[in-house]
Chain length 362, copies 2
């Protein structure tokens, strides 16, 4: 456990490192935005599988025989700035989201896509299989419109509906909230962790070494993807949810909360060791209680943060380099479940830039 | 009907106009691509509606009472180059497609997104309501994976499966076909022409005057959108399918084909007149028979092309400015249902650039 003095030192170190920010970052902070200079941009599908009906296709009847369906791929839109840094960033959205997560923020500012393009990183935004533009699924689903946005407002720790948390880093005008709600998009097939991690591993196989940036649900799937891809050179994970994996025999006890019970799972040690070979940083925002709470929207994150700390300890015990940053502990207040699009997202981006620099990954 | 001599004159005129292309366009043709210089890029949702459950939301139980669902909006990703021309292009995909339609082509070349950014147009790509990243729908749907790609290969006039049309403007390697199939994405709710045209009209209300570029199914919805938005200053329509609207009392007879019967519909003359106030150009590709064919994949387009010609005649009879360009008639061979991503898409883009210039819209 960190002492208060330790936290102060950590905060001072971050401040110190921030002094070294590039002119570009300073321009971002002062709001003078130069044009983006993009050497290359485009999109493609990768991964996935093919269903094939038996028989021979008849072009005159167009019956099902002999027809195929390509599905379960991911879709990515990428932009590579001129003079890009060595490792691109692959940004993977969370539950109920698409690549939109990383684009314009709900209140209309630049998101991580633009912020990191301006910092000379190549940026790949993905829609995971069966989500968004990667909608073709090999498995059926029924979509039933279910009003649930007040639940997400709470689970994403914007506040306790209809109240915003005091000092929350989220714009409180109605239009921002509307944009936030409208960026959700449903699954066009069942969520399948193997399908998703296979597709992201296939993306890294195609593009070569890079850095994986995950959020929430993709956090756990991201650990699985590291097991499948040697091209992931680091992971930056915002508020990973379920899916923490430990060496078999070392799985922590279940963690009950008012939002349900969080379970970790075990993998062979040889697999787990892959997570110890790359630097990993995990960020959690504010309004996460340290004692059990009756509010599931918050208690949910109490156990996840606790599990993340145990997980980082396990990785480091085996010689790895995993850090959990609980933002309020370094003096950064008010962040929701979406730190990268919160009002202080440039400060959040600075933390990530600095960390990448510290790890020699820029 | 055009004579052969008339066609020759038309082809010569196009050649003449092409001489005036910008240096940028020449660079595109010779493959020397400079970086894109983007003054602004981002994304947002627009249009749509809200479902609201009665009652009061309980944050501790998170039951359905008092919760909302924002749905039926469109999603757009926009890029504005430095020194952009006055009118941006709003590109609207066709059936089973998303904004991906306008991005990288199946064989990995630049699509209309990049091509027109390089020609200094602002470009808005949309996912229509209940498609892609605009997936939240207020209506339910069941998605059943149905192998159907050989049907689309034929309907999109790539060939007659498994044969490609001779000289088709489509790369014949397996990877290109795979990318082409994987760019399809399903509807996450029923297609609703009013919902869609309302959302696109809302987009134009937000961004101001611009040019609407449609494809296939969005062709007909595009005419409806013109009725709803005075900000649409021109329409460029690639292979519009169903949905041609005529003045009431002047609706052409149904057109039977081996793919089914094409019907037009009537609107009040005052509405129809809105279509006569802006320049409109429609392009159709190759391998469309002029006599009835037993192959539904082709015959489908015979009646659509015929209906488009009747429609342009009606618009022009009322003082409008509508042109139907059947590409083979001006000497451009081999185009599929997706001319803007075909192998000759720079030539197709030149036609559009020239047309916009002729109409004073550049």
């Amino acid at each position: 456990m960190k002492t208060r003095f330790g936290k102060l030192i950590a905060a001072l170190m971050l401040t110190f490192v921030s002094v070294g920010l590039s002119a570009c970052s300073v321009a971002q902070h002062t709001g003078k935005l130069e044009p983006l200079v993009i050497q290359q941009q485009g999109s493609f599908a990768v991964g996935g599988t093919v269903l094939t009906n038996p028989g021979r296709f008849d072009p005159f009847k167009m019956t099902p025989e002999g027809q195929t369906l390509h599905g379960d791929h991911l879709y990515t839109f990428y932009q590579i700035p001129t003079n890009a840094r060595k490792f691109p960033l692959v940004m993977w959205h969370g539950y109920g989201q698409s690549a939109k997560t990383w684009e314009t923020t709900p209140d209309g500012r630049e998101g991580f896509q633009n912020i990191f393009l301006r910092r000379d990183y190549g940026v790949y935004l993905i829609d995971q299989p069966r989500r968004g533009r990667a909608g073709r699924s090999t498995q059926p689903v029924t979509l039933t419109p279910t009003p649930d946005e007040q639940k997400w407002f709470d689970i994403f720790r914007v506040g306790i509906w209809p109240e915003y948390f005091p000092g929350v880093q989220f714009a409180q005008d109605p239009e921002s909230l509307e944009q936030y709600f409208r960026q959700m998009t449903p699954d066009t097939g069942p969520i399948d962790i193997d399908v998703n991690s296979d597709a992201v591993a296939a993306l890294f196989a195609k593009i070569g070494p890079g850095i994986l940036v995950t959020h929430s649900h993709s956090g756990g799937m991201g650990w699985q993807t590291v097991l499948k891809s040697p091209n992931i050179r680091a992971v930056v994970s915002y508020e990973p949810g379920s899916g923490f994996i430990f060496p078999e025999g070392e799985v922590p006890e279940d963690m009950p909360s008012s939002a349900g019970t969080l379970k970790a799972s075990g993998v062979p040690l040889a697999d787990f060791m892959k997570l110890t070979k790359i630097p990993i940083v995990i960020y959690y925002g504010d309004n996460i209680p340290d004692q059990p709470s009756e509010n599931p929207g918050q208690d949910n994150w109490r156990v996840r943060l606790a599990m993340a700390k145990l997980w980082a300890d396990a990785v480091n015990r085996y010689g790895g380099d995993a850090t959990v940053v609980h933002l309020p502990e370094i003096g950064i207040q008010g962040n929701t479940h979406f730190p990268f699009s919160d009002l202080n997202n440039l400060e959040i981006a600075d933390l990530m830039s600095d960390w990448l620099a510290q790890k020699g990954l820029d």
